[in-house]
Amino acid sequence: DTAVSQTPKYLVTQMGNDKSIKCEQNLGHDTMYWYKQDSKKFLKIMFSYNNKELIINETVPNRFSPKSPDKAHLNLHINSLELGDSAVYFCASSHRLAGGANTGELFFGEGSRLTVL
């Protein structure tokens, strides 16, 4: 069984469209994340949820809206897609450490490659 699974793996769409990426983890983790990896391989955190509550929102345009229906799922919806949104989006999860820190080992999905034409 895949620990962190994302769908779809590939997404090709036109500018201005709306698309969603889904993520599910079966590790029993409390915390889930979305990271964006650009063409130069820079990996940047976008959002973090703990037990369905948004705890990190890194100055991401409000066209990006994460949703966590339960602690095992974190979806990412993107409105009005732009060329610059083309990237690989990674979902990840982790345990919340003692003291509330969420900086332990991250488990990543295989990524969703979004191409905006």
Partner: protein, 112 residues
């Protein structure tokens, strides 16, 4: 802004040689982690070293941490062609929320 900066950006070695990658960071940290990413795949956690530790080993991996210099190194001994991948350091700590922030990565190519 990126927290970690890896050096070198790319490294090409022969199978059997050792590979050393360095990482520098800017702010105080709770821990530092190294991840591996094969082409077209997700990142896989390799090793975590806490801020009060100086060295850690895992199989052919050796990680050092120097918090006074805000730097870390990853040594892969007796490299294999299968070690070809990108390696990322990531710092865990509190910077406006508990986050794990990644560097730009070192691309390692091991020639058979």
């Amino acid at each position: 802004s990126q927290q970690g900066e890896e050096d070198p950006q790319a490294l090409s070695i022969q199978e059997g040689e050792n590979a050393t990658m360095n990482c520098s960071y800017k702010t105080s940290i709770n821990n530092l982690q190294w991840y591996r990413q094969n082409s077209g795949r997700g990142l896989v956690h390799l090793i975590l070293i806490r801020s009060n530790e100086r060295e850690k080993h895992s199989g052919r991996l050796r990680v050092t941490l120097d918090t006074s210099k805000k730097s870390s190194s990853l040594l892969i001994t007796a490299s294999r062609a299968a070690d070809t991948a990108s390696y990322f350091c990531a710092t865990g700590g509190y910077t406006g929320g508990f986050k794990t922030i990644f560097g730009a990565g070192t691309r390692l190519f091991v020639k058979a």
